[in-house]
Symmetry: C2
Subunit: 400 residues, 2 copies
């Protein structure tokens, strides 16, 4: 029998306990031994839980028990979650988590700490919820030099945008609906402002390129300013506006990372990723383009990723097996405005004025909201230069 | 320095040698040591190759060299490929392969042999080419009980169907074009008849359900009989006809596996998988639906999967880490006709006759080719019963 301890009995933590119980036999086959929860740490009381006897309030009990091989951290944040993670790794226990804030801020250090103490630090659940994406990048695509990762990695904002696009709801109404359905927090700012997407694209960049990208260095825009006129104009060519996190490595090795709304043409598979689903595209020199899709949040999908990582941590035993990246200075950070793509622009000008400014343009719509058009490929710098002095109502990158 | 030997210097084998060379630094970081090719085994001569000095003709040289830690088998088939794989595993060397015929026929035994000798047998490249799908199933979704896997896993047939659908080419013309472009073999029967898809769905079933599914037990239909009239009728609702391999585990634990053309409604992401791309959907009780997409064939995508597996084999060291499944008797095999779905039917009858037979139907088209319509959900048995004595011109499952 192998023992795990679960820190935090919230949505994900309780899902992990439930899933370890429900799929006990399959897990035992995969790991080669039965896995059971020995402790659950939470400040709250759960006297009616079937697992009531497992609850403890003092992390030192878990830390000192040599029978605990794996610690599951589903507390969230960078406070006690970080303290307990460090203490567990220092005690030689592997740690598995869904905590994207902690991994994006301190993952590099925590992986090094784990390696030092021959313990795994695994976090598949921190990006894409139930969508396998971190192991595919660090294991299956390890033989390739990756050049770009982008995707829809926040289910809340994607749900809101889907409602705005399909049902014509305003942002405020769609947000309220998402809150009523439990898809958005009472304080939805980390989702709506793009901060959650920022943390996830950092983790993806860390693993894809082997360099630590700090969230504070990533330019981040949310969805609160997206207007119905733009959604309608995009819809006229069956395109969708989506919140995209993106990280691109240039030929000089520098990495551009950002979060912003984009227009996705219908040819792009991500244009069809709706509601709370996530979709992530990975590009590599040898592999070309791969795409990963599934439920990006929710109790059981996220718990599946955590439980799978528990199994993986128990199967692995050499430090070299762990994903890793190294610290990186500003020299590896490129400006996203260097990236070249077509642009969606809506501005108070007519077709002719647009053509004079941008050359060959594709007009989607002209009405009282101005003219919406697509430009040819150009960098953000070139686009901004052309737009100097122009009353631009919307400017988005186009993904094809 | 860690050494590998490559068996077979064809498309994939030469890609592996090239990629190990090109991405040497990244691979060394991932593995913790440099990886180099020490031998290439081929019956042919390659005097002008930059790797000419590495070629050998006798497998015994590789087998006897304790410096060789990993053997890459890209010979194909179940003859010498099988013999060399067994001898390498017995010598304690890990084996990595893209050989779907060998894995689908003898994978279960070869994994057991590897485990006995503390050597890995890894084959991510055998399904989906460059699409990560086997590790995601056996590692990332290991915590879930999977219920179904289906997908487009043969690029050749998908290219032919895409040409028939988008450019109105006949099957024969599309096949000839695929051959000219190198997407189809001179003898395309294993692709066209669905045999290649059958092998891949067996491997997917093995890993998803932990039971060995022999290719000979899987009912397999190809694409040669698909007619333009059906492609046109499907197109009238923006649906596409695709060759799908599918394996489903019922609540009683029995597994239904088959290969056949399907109508994919536009809501299904796989309807948008075109040309030589592959797409695979995995369903689980806790995770819901995940989807994996990318280049299903080609020298470098496949070589990426092989090289990534070489790295993974070198990182792993405990036998418990390997994917595994157990032998299974007929009691685990269910009949695909038990599976319930809507059906696409084209027959010489009018709307009223269809409604009398099937109740509420959706008519897509009526013309000199008969009436094409969608039924409600029913099993294959129920559908066949209703069609007794009917002149059915086409009968396909519908995926929504």
């Amino acid at each position: 029998m192998i023992y795990a301890a679960v820190l935090g009995y919230g949505t994900v933590g309780s899902g992990v306990v439930e899933l370890l119980d429900r799929n006990r036999d399959k897990i035992a086959k995969g790991v080669g031994d039965e896995v059971a929860v020995k402790y659950i740490l939470d400040v709250r009381e759960f006297p009616d839980s079937p697992y009531a006897s497992l609850f403890v309030k003092d992390f030192a009990v878990i830390e000192a028990d040599p029978e605990v091989a794996v610690v599951v951290e589903t507390i969230g944040g960078v406070g006690v979650a970080q303290t307990f993670t460090r203490r567990a790794l220092e005690a030689g226990k592997s740690v598995v988590t869904s905590n994207k804030e902690l991994v994006s801020e301190f993952g590099c250090e925590l992986l090094a700490l784990g390696k030092e103490h021959h313990a795994c630090y695994l976090f598949e659940a921190s990006v894409g919820g139930g969508v396998p994406i971190l192991h595919p990048i660090s294991v299956c695509l390890n033989g390739d030099e990756l050049t770009e990762v982008y995707g829809i990695v926040n289910g809340t904002t994607n749900y809101i945008l889907t409602q705005m696009i399909q049902n014509g709801l305003s942002f405020e109404t769609a947000l309220r609906q998402a809150q009523e359905l439990g898809y958005a927090e009472r304080n939805p700012s980390a989702d709506v402002n793009g901060v959650d997407t920022c943390r996830k694209i950092c983790i993806l960049a860390d693993l894809a390129f082997g360099k630590n990208i700090a969230p504070s260095t990533v330019r981040t825009e949310g969805i609160a300013d997206i207007q119905m006129a733009d959604i309608a104009a995009a819809a006229s060519i069956h395109a969708h506006i989506k919140l995209i996190g993106r990280t691109v490595r240039g030929e000089d090795g520098r990495i551009a990372s950002y979060v912003a709304p984009h227009v996705l043409l219908m040819e792009n598979l991500l244009a069809h990723v709706e509601d709370v689903f996530n979709g992530i595209v990975v590009k590599g020199g040898a592999t070309g383009e791969t795409m990963f899709y599934g439920k990006g949040a929710g109790k059981m999908p996220t718990a599946t990723a955590v439980v799978s990582d528990i199994c993986e941590a128990l199967r692995r035993c050499r430090a070299e097996a762990f994903p890793h990246w190294e610290m990186a200075g500003e020299e590896v950070l490129a400006d996203p405005d260097e990236l070249v793509n077509r642009w969606y622009i809506r501005a108070n000008m007519d077709h002719d004025e647009a053509a004079v400014l941008f050359g060959d343009v594709t007009v989607l719509q002209t009405d009282e909201n101005g003219t919406a058009f697509l430009t040819g490929p150009m960098s953000g710098f070139a686009c901004a230069e052309k737009l100097e002095g122009v009353d631009a109502l919307a400017v988005y990158r186009v993904l094809e």
